[in-house]
């Protein structure tokens, strides 16, 4: 394991050290005193393991293709931006545009997430991106979502804010959003509807719940005993006729 003290280190230097070590065959990293350094793990294509202590900067794991990143604290904005494969596990909260344009791999967030989570996420054949959120989400959850799976658990009581904010699934035209509860109709985007779970959903959802519990050392939820609903798009081309006469 390579340990790096990132205190006061510019992001370019930190990422250069990681890239060079990965090229030399290093498989495991522990970064400590991280404070706002951007692009950690950017574009790495090997299944290395990176453990981060402190708050990593924006675009954590951007374009990443295989590594596993563990964050003990909170994440900032743009976690998993356009990520292709691998896994990011965050023990705290995460910010806005989490999983932006994500096309594979998985993000597990124990706490709350910000606005526009999963925006433009997409799937292709076996590449199915997954986002699982333990807390609540801000507005525009799953905006313009084209594929993949998002799970919103709302585990910690809705005292501070609703399970999901407004404009839920606005512009969504592919993939599925599982929500532990039933979102109020006025919060839904025009392009989605709420459905009961069907045969086959448990087979997708239960392994994700198990993995969530494993990552954070919590009791696994049982799909059958929880009030899950799912959101699906009503059209695969919601804007197809926008400019047609």
């Amino acid at each position: 394991m390579l340990e790096i003290n990132a205190q006061g280190m510019p992001y370019r230097e930190l990422n250069r050290l990681i890239r060079e070590a990965v090229a030399a065959g290093e498989e495991s990293f522990r970064l400590y005193n991280v404070c706002g350094q951007r692009y950690i793990g950017a574009g790495l294509r090997r299944p290395v393991y990176i453990e981060i202590h402190g708050v990593p900067g924006n675009d954590l794991g951007v374009f990443m293709d295989g590594p596993t990143i563990l964050v003990r604290d909170n994440g900032q904005d743009g976690v998993g931006n356009t990520m292709n494969d691998g896994r990011i596990v965050i023990h705290g909260d995460a910010g806005d545009v989490l999983g932006y344009g994500m096309r594979g791999g998985s993000l597990f967030i124990r706490g709350d997430v910000g606005y526009r989570v999963g925006i433009h996420m997409k799937a292709y054949r076996e590449q199915v991106p997954v986002i699982v959120v333990g807390g609540t989400a801000g507005d525009f959850f799953g905006e313009y979502m084209a594929g993949g799976i998002m799970v919103l658990l709302g585990l910690y009581g809705g005292a501070r804010r609703p399970l999901a904010g407004d404009y839920l699934g606005t512009g969504m035209h592919g993939g599925v959003i599982y929500v532990r509860g039933r979102p109020e109709p006025y919060r839904l985007g025009k392009e989605v509807r709420v459905f009961e779970l069907e045969n086959g959903d448990a087979a997708i959802l239960q392994p994700l719940l198990d993995r969530f519990a494993e990552h954070f050392g919590t009791e696994p939820l049982d799909v059958g005993r929880e009030p899950f609903t799912k959101l699906l798009p009503v059209s695969h081309r919601p804007y197809g006729r926008l400019y047609a006469t």
């Binding site: 706002g36 909170n74 910010g95 526009r116 006025y186």
Partner: protein
Amino acid sequence: MREGMVRIPSGCAVSAVMNTRGRRINGEAITRSIACMHDRSNGLGGGFAAYGIYPEFAELYALHLLCDDEAARLDADAFLQKNFEVHRSEPIPTRRVREITDPPVIWRYFVAPRRECLEQRCLEDERDLVTEAVMTVNNRIPGAYVMSSGKNMGVFKGVGFPEDISRFYRLDEYEGYMWTAHGRFPTNTPGWWGGAHPFNLLDWSVVHNGEISSYGINKRYLEMFGYRLELQTDTEVVAYLFDLLHRRHGLSLSVVCRVLAPPFWKDIDRMEAAEREANTALRMVYGSAMMNGPFSIIVSHSRGLIGLNDRVKLRPLVCGRKGDFVLLASEESALRLLLGDPDEVWAVRAGHPVIVEMERSVAA
């Protein structure tokens, strides 16, 4: 090509620190916080607002001026002498910093409005005279601009990265109970000394990440109340809107925020009758003060801080608290750097302000 003729899209950084019991903080702290977000700005603007730095002149207005040359400074000087008793006039101390090139003439005045000027103009509130003077200098005296005009506070800004601007102005030699900071990445307007943030009027200062797309409407509205917008930057409207709505129209700070970033009509429709009526009235009366476009702003005044996002959260803002210290910043890392392990840290919600006030018992 001259700066201002090309368009470079990106973001800015904002940051603020306040001690709610009035304990004073060295300028070094806010500098570290804003420097942590270095990559959000591009060297075309940096600045700071500092509160509580001039206790020995607490009763006087501190006017910080930027002047293109000494001639412009003398024109401004003559105008100020006519309207104010000038208790002290001096260059703002700076140090030579390699990164800061071609600074203007930078001066400060500690002044009190002349009583006869107030009487002549039938002005009851001396702050109206100060406001008029600021507008006149910015608008009528070529090459002279007022950076700040509050009491026991001052704005220090210019073209450069914020950490370099801080060294240039020797901010490590100042102590204040509240600081705000800005690192600029100009998008639609030129990166010049007067266009750096914070923007100020009286004790209002504003730092802003984003763009006020409603600038034209807001500007015309403010002009009806005598404000002149001369600094070629959208953020200027925010300082004047707070002055107009809070100081002159008497709206509470939370209502001012409601005017600037009002609930959507769909949300107003779902409110109880009384609340619906109040919010409808605010939108009708103050429609031209509503700010459109992406923004996260930090507004400061002598007794507190306000953090506000646009209604769909197109720019980031995080708040943190540890004991009697409260911080706001574009990124959580910039809070952590100063607070270590905060008691609380949360993302400011779209359109819902964070309003922090000095403890009542503290005189400041």
